[in-house]
């Protein structure tokens, strides 16, 4: 990796292919009917970026990306199956709102950031020869930047506690789902389900007794 900046044509070809893969799969995330497939397209995009990181001599980060995203996207696919109405893509699906504004914002973001990439004069200070990226990262994490690294751990712990509080069934003021009703299928319409009393006692004021 000492000559990572004087890379050969093979690295360039690999970069072009991986870049195309990352962008196309990233775009397909929002264009596929199946939400599970969307999460796997996102995984492909992440893996392509992780491979580009390895090309850039950041081996640890690239491999960490593989592991992290493989697990994360599997969890995401599971959530899709649990919660979403169309996880398998059996019906055509295009659930978007304010699409023109969104497309405009996306293109504007790309143009502004791309102009920065092309026209800004960034300093050219490539990796020094003889640098061991993994070793230097380890020494930094457990050396000068240990406080930052440990803070990230504390924040993750706080997140875990917050997630348990948010998603627990019994809230501080009673059961979390008490009295909850699904929204109507049409705006302002009747709820799309039954309340718990209806199901248990069978005595809703708008429904027949059964």
């Amino acid at each position: 990796m000492t000559e990572s900046m004087n890379h050969g044509i093979g690295v360039d070809i690999a970069f072009v292919l991986l870049a195309a893969l990352a962008v196309i799969s990233g775009w397909r995330v929002f264009r596929t009917d199946s939400m599970v497939r969307a999460s796997f397209f996102l995984l492909v995009s992440f893996i392509a970026v992780g491979a580009i990181m390895i090309l850039l001599a950041a081996e640890y980060l690239g491999v960490a990306m593989f592991f992290m995203m493989a697990v994360e996207m599997t969890v995401m696919a599971l959530f899709m199956v649990m919660f979403m109405m169309n996880p398998a893509g059996l019906n055509p699906m295009n659930m978007v709102h304010q699409e023109r504004i969104a497309i405009g914002a996306g293109i504007a973001g790309f143009v502004v950031l791309g102009a920065m990439a092309l026209f800004a004069a960034f300093p050219e200070r490539p990796l020094p020869t003889g640098l061991d990226p993994v070793r230097s990262l380890g020494l930094e994490m457990l050396g000068d930047s240990m406080l930052i690294f440990e803070s990230a751990g504390i924040v993750l712990l706080a997140t875990m506690i917050g997630v348990v509080v948010l998603s627990s069934h019994r809230g501080r003021y009673g059961a979390a789902a008490e009295g909850s009703m699904p929204p109507g299928l049409a705006p302002g319409g009747d709820p799309a389900g039954k309340s718990e009393e209806d199901e248990e006692a069978g005595g809703g004021h708008e429904h027949h007794h059964h």
């Binding site: 850039l56 990230a152 993750l156």
Partner: protein, 101 residues
Amino acid sequence: MTLATLLLLAAALIGIGLYGALSQQSFVMLMMGLELMLNGVMLAAVAFWAYSGAGAPAGQLLTIIVMAVMAIEMTMGFALVVAVFRGKQADTTESLSGLKH
């Protein structure tokens, strides 16, 4: 593979992610847009580390912090999806109007 091409790729990923985060109705798809943006941010950070940062280890550390942010975003997002689904049995942003003025 130059700094400019890497940053262009990062800009493309951020642009697609921004589109997704703004346009998707489903919470989980919205989170995918946010993740795609963070994907571009991480790529840009590594590109700067490799081409402009002279291999300063803090550049790699920044990427690890972004990864932690991504994990936090993901878990909090899913916890909120669970909480909202418990409360309203809803999975799209349109179903939530409690804080709309």
